[in-house]
């Protein structure tokens, strides 16, 4: 199944991205100290004498960000769970187009290969940060990472977007057209709502990234100047002029901000499902949850300028972006409180998936709140591009979204592989990851508030940044321990695929349709007729029923109303 291909590719990419982060955390924690391991991994060229050089550092940071945002959290998260859950939860035999689906995976695969290959070329991988702002990324004279590595980055990105678009169109068409009998839009599980809005966001915003990337490729290789103006570099005035580097930022963030929600919404959808199932309670405010998903999706398109308050953009326009950005906090707050109310008076079963979902709510709130500071343009002046930003988006994306993905893996593992993962190892994995995650990213806020810019190779030259020097070793230790804890997950994951306990049909006593399919994968998902849906998916602990769950296929009783 394609979801398994996506998941395993994403796990592999995730391992690489985490390893890269461990390498640069070593440099940040103990700057200038020699580590055999750096030399062993990076070689003499990038880490002579066991100390990585500045170009290597920037390349690691850049590729870590790129892989995590695009390959793990976009391709990995949406690709895995949309492909798995959309047909199963809407009662369809398959996705609308199996062929497009296959293409979307193989484009993703090729794009991953190119991205990884770019780490091994002579001038090094792209190093201008994951946003690759021109002119830095447009001019090979500006840094070695803007050479061949940058071209590969851009090509990989184009293929990635193709994959994402093929997948997205397919998801939308499938959800709109192939729902089984009785499955009204208002009876869809929130996972499907989240995947639908995610796919729409992707289809509308990813093409803009392609245009940004293509223009950048032309600036690099064809003598155009979309992003270049008045540049004197390498002892020579650049031959072309008249463009605007800010144009790129507009195009990039027009994708870049919806992208944050492309990453986050599936995670929120997954956790809605898991929290309801394991609290044995209906998700609180089902319609409000759908409303907030739609509101977040819409607002995410008109907030991109908050990444650009300090580019010289008109302050009036900046003010407008402040308003739209802070508005997003309202549907987010609704979601957070709805999760908490779902837990209230529940009967909470602590599966590893449930732990990760609760972790998601915690980090979603923590990370969301610091977003209020960053969205305020006046405050952004002082924290823009500092570690405060790094802390903020890692708590949201590096913890919240990843926790959603982990929760999904633990929860739907029986569906994907017909086996169970080990629960106890899952507990250990969650608690170490949760504690280390906060251990890494919470102190970072204070490093940022002390004025430490991000993407600095070394902070020891600046006396006023002593805070950063104090906290960096601590952060690095947490990062390394957290990374090692993922070995537990990998072991559990791969061991369980082959030797795990055989799964039963509906291990979590869940209501949704995927648990009515047989454990063994069969073509067309259901052996006989497609299931018919009679109710919403959240009839947990309904007082009108004996059991604490009522699958969607159970007809409404004569005295029962639709939810």
């Amino acid at each position: 199944m394609i979801s398994r291909q996506f998941l395993i590719t994403a796990v592999f990419m995730g391992i690489i991205a985490v390893l890269l982060s461990v390498l640069f955390r070593i440099q940040l924690g103990w700057p200038g100290e020699s580590f055999e391991i750096l030399n062993a991994v990076l070689g003499d060229r990038w880490a002579p004498g066991g100390v990585m050089n500045q170009n290597a550092y920037l390349a690691l940071v850049t590729i870590h960000g790129t892989i995590m945002v695009f390959f793990v959290l976009t391709g990995g998260l949406s690709g895995t769970f949309s492909n798995l859950l959309i047909p199963l939860q809407i009662g369809a035999r398959d996705m609308a187009s199996g062929f497009l689906n296959m293409l979307s995976y193989w484009f993703f695969f090729v794009s991953s290969v190119i991205m990884i290959a770019s780490l091994f070329i002579e001038t090094g991988a792209a190093s201008g940060g994951w946003t690759v702002y021109p002119p830095l990324s447009a001019l090979p004279q500006a840094m070695p990472g803007s050479g061949m590595g940058m071209t590969m980055w851009l090509l990989s990105m184009v293929l990635f977007v193709v994959s994402s678009l093929l997948g997205g169109l397919n998801y939308i068409v499938t959800i709109v057209n192939l729902r089984t009998k009785g499955l009204k839009m208002t009876r869809l599980p929130l996972t499907i709502w989240a995947f639908l809005v995610t796919a729409i966001l992707g289809v509308l915003s990813f093409p803009v990234l392609v245009s940004a990337v293509v223009l950048l490729l032309m600036d690099r290789g064809m003598g155009t100047a979309f992003y270049l103006s008045n540049i004197f570099i390498d002892g020579e005035a650049l031959d072309v002029t008249g463009g605007s580097p800010i144009l790129y930022q507009h195009l990039f963030w027009f994708l870049g901000h919806p992208e944050v929600y492309i990453v986050l919404l599936p995670a929120l959808g997954i956790s809605s499902e898991i929290i309801a199932t394991n609290s044995r309670k209906p998700i609180f405010g089902y319609k409000a949850m759908i409303g907030s998903i739609l509101a977040i999706g819409f607002l995410s398109f008109i907030v991109w300028g908050h990444h650009m308050f300090l580019t010289g953009m008109s302050p009036w326009l900046g003010g407008l972006f402040v308003i739209t950005t802070l508005l997003i906090a309202i549907p987010s707050a609704v979601k957070a409180f709805n999760y908490i109310t779902t837990l209230w008076k529940g009967n909470i079963r602590y599966t590893p998936a449930m732990l990760f979902s609760i972790g998601l709510v915690s980090t979603f709130v923590s990370g969301g709140l610091t977003g209020i500071i960053l969205a305020d343009s006046a405050l952004d002046i002082n924290v823009h591009d500092t570690y405060f930003v790094v802390a903020h988006f890692h708590i949201v994306m590096g913890m919240s979204a990843i926790f959603g993905m982990m929760a999904g893996v633990y929860h739907w593992f029986p569906k994907m592989f017909g086996k169970m993962m080990n629960t106890k190892l899952g507990y250990v994995h969650f608690w170490i990851t949760f504690i280390c995650g906060y251990g890494v990213f919470f102190p970072m806020h204070f490093v940022g508030l002390a004025g430490a810019p991000r993407r600095y190779y070394d902070y020891s030259n600046f006396e006023f940044l002593n805070v950063a020097l104090d906290l960096n070793p601590l952060i690095s230790v947490f990062a390394i321990v957290g990374a090692i804890a993922q070995v537990l997950f990998l072991y559990n994951f791969f061991y369980s695929i082959f030797r795990g306990q055989a799964a039963v049909q509906n291990p979590w006593k869940s209501n949704t349709l995927e648990w009515t399919t047989p454990v063994e994968h069969i073509h067309g998902n259901w052996p006989g007729d497609l299931p018919v849906v009679h109710r919403w998916p959240y009839d947990y602990s309904n007082p009108q029923h004996e059991t604490d769950f009522v699958p969607q296929t159970v007809p409404l009783g004569s005295d029962e109303k639709d939810h």
Binding site: L58, Y133, L136, M143, S229, N230, I231, F232, I233, A237, T241, G243, S244, I246, K281, F284, Y286, L310, G312, G318, G319, L326, A333, F337, N338, L343, W344, K345, G346, I348, R349, Y350, S362, V365, S366, I373, D376, A378, L379, N382, H384, T386, T423, Y427, Y438, F442, F446, L449, G451, R455, Y456, N461, I480, I484, A485, L488, Y491, Q501, Y538, P543
Partner: protein
């Protein structure tokens, strides 16, 4: 050595955990235990972990607020105080919400763990409650938005003060050049096409244009000679590269021609640059006067970040950007405040710009008006730095005693 020991401990820990899990799995098989059946003990354990974690987490958060809360010293600029106040208000709001939400989250997680003998409360929705947490956040956000935008508008207001200090902050990989206007209180016209070793900002003048064109001609000449002499022995790719270079240099000449025929040239703005003062390594500013920064970059995007003044603005090639602020504390006073005789304000690059991004900083010195004027008078003008060939030097010397403006 220490880190190695830590690493070994961790690796052994992982191995131990994996082995334990194997033992556990074997035992589970014997007991006929299924993974999806979460025992009461497990539910209870995780519930208690939630509560314990809440306490540990809160303790850590409070510790960090106390130990690292006063991240930067008092703000050294007028608008910085407003930002700090706004920041404090925002932090109070979000910290309150943070504690409130987490108390609910972890308390519920602890209290309502699974027991066979109870059933969850069927509570699908409540319009009243949902209204509460739509309306209250909206009101709080409205307050935050209005408060924030008022301060933002004040900071970015374009009304100039009476007697501002004009400064151009010019960035390139990997240093800063500071340009002050000379006696004419005007920053002269500059253009990237005129940049040369002695003219780092490309300040224009008729002489400099002639000189730059001569320089380019000389370069073209030398390449042509080289091609003529060794052209037949060079690999074709190199010949092509050289021919390409000649083409580019000729286009460069054409662009300079455009500059010399521009509006600025005919209106005489060219001469304004000759008495400008170019400084590297230090940014001096007087206390109490509004500073109007103009930021420029010659190569990639940089960002001028002055954390102590709560000031930052990107430097974008081709698009001059602006920021204004009024310093309120001199370097000397700040040294007393932070009790550190070595203290210096700083301007850092905060937009990744290449390998030495982290080494791109310049000291900022805030001093009294007199000290500032004295320092500025001691700096060479641009034409002086060129070797005193131009006639403007004498002019500028005559009026170099700028009247000191004090209210």
């Amino acid at each position: 050595m220490f880190s190695l020991l830590v690493l070994i401990t961790i690796v052994l820990g992982v191995v131990a955990a994996v082995q334990l899990s194997k033992v556990y799995q074997l035992a589970a098989k014997l007991r006929n235990h299924r993974e999806e059946d979460i025992s009461l003990a497990d539910n209870k354990m995780n519930a208690w972990f939630m509560l314990i974690w809440m306490i540990v987490f809160f303790a850590a958060v409070i510790y960090f607020y106390i130990a690292y809360g006063d991240f930067l010293p008092v703000s050294a600029s007028a608008h910085g105080n407003d930002i700090d106040m706004l920041f404090t208000v925002n932090i109070v709001v979000i910290t309150t919400v943070f504690f409130l939400v987490h108390i609910l989250l972890f308390y519920f997680s602890w209290k309502y763990y699974y027991r066979d003998d109870r059933k969850a409360f069927f509570f699908p929705h409540s319009t009243k409650l949902e209204m509460v947490w739509t309306v209250i956040p909206s009101l709080v956000l409205a307050f935050i938005i209005i408060f924030g935008l008022r301060i933002w508008n004040d900071i970015t207001d374009v009304v100039a003060s009476e007697n501002p200090v004009q400064v151009e902050v010019y960035s390139k990989q990997f240093d800063w050049t500071i340009r002050y206007p000379g006696a004419d209180k005007e920053l002269g016209f500059s253009n990237y096409n005129l940049i040369s070793g002695t003219n780092p900002l490309g300040i224009a003048s008729d002489d400099l244009i002639i000189k730059k064109i001569a320089e380019l001609d000389e370069e073209i000449q030398s390449i042509e000679t080289k091609l003529k002499k060794e052209g037949n022995f060079l690999p074709s790719s190199q010949v092509e590269a050289l021919e390409d270079k000649i083409y580019r240099l000729q286009r460069h000449k054409l662009r300079i021609n455009d500059v010399s025929m521009s509006r600025e040239a005919s209106s005489g703005v060219f001469s304004a640059g000759q008495d400008d003062k170019l400084v590297k390594g230090e940014l001096h500013l007087p206390i109490g006067r509004e500073v109007e920064f103009i930021f420029n970059s010659r190569d990639v995007i940089h960002s001028a970040y002055m954390p102590h003044f709560r000031a930052q603005m990107n430097c974008v090639p081709g698009i001059p950007t602006r920021f204004k602020m009024t310093p309120t504390i001199t370097t000397d006073s700040m040294r007393t405040i932070v009790d550190n005789p070595e203290f210096d304000y700083i301007l850092l690059c905060n937009k990744v710009c290449g390998a030495s991004h982290n080494n791109m900083a310049v000291k900022v010195i805030i001093e009294s008006e007199d000290e500032y004027q004295e320092w500025l008078d001691g700096q060479k003008t641009f034409s002086e730095s060129l070797g005193g060939e131009s006639e403007e030097i004498e002019e500028s010397e005559e009026i170099s005693l700028e009247p000191v403006a004090k209210k």
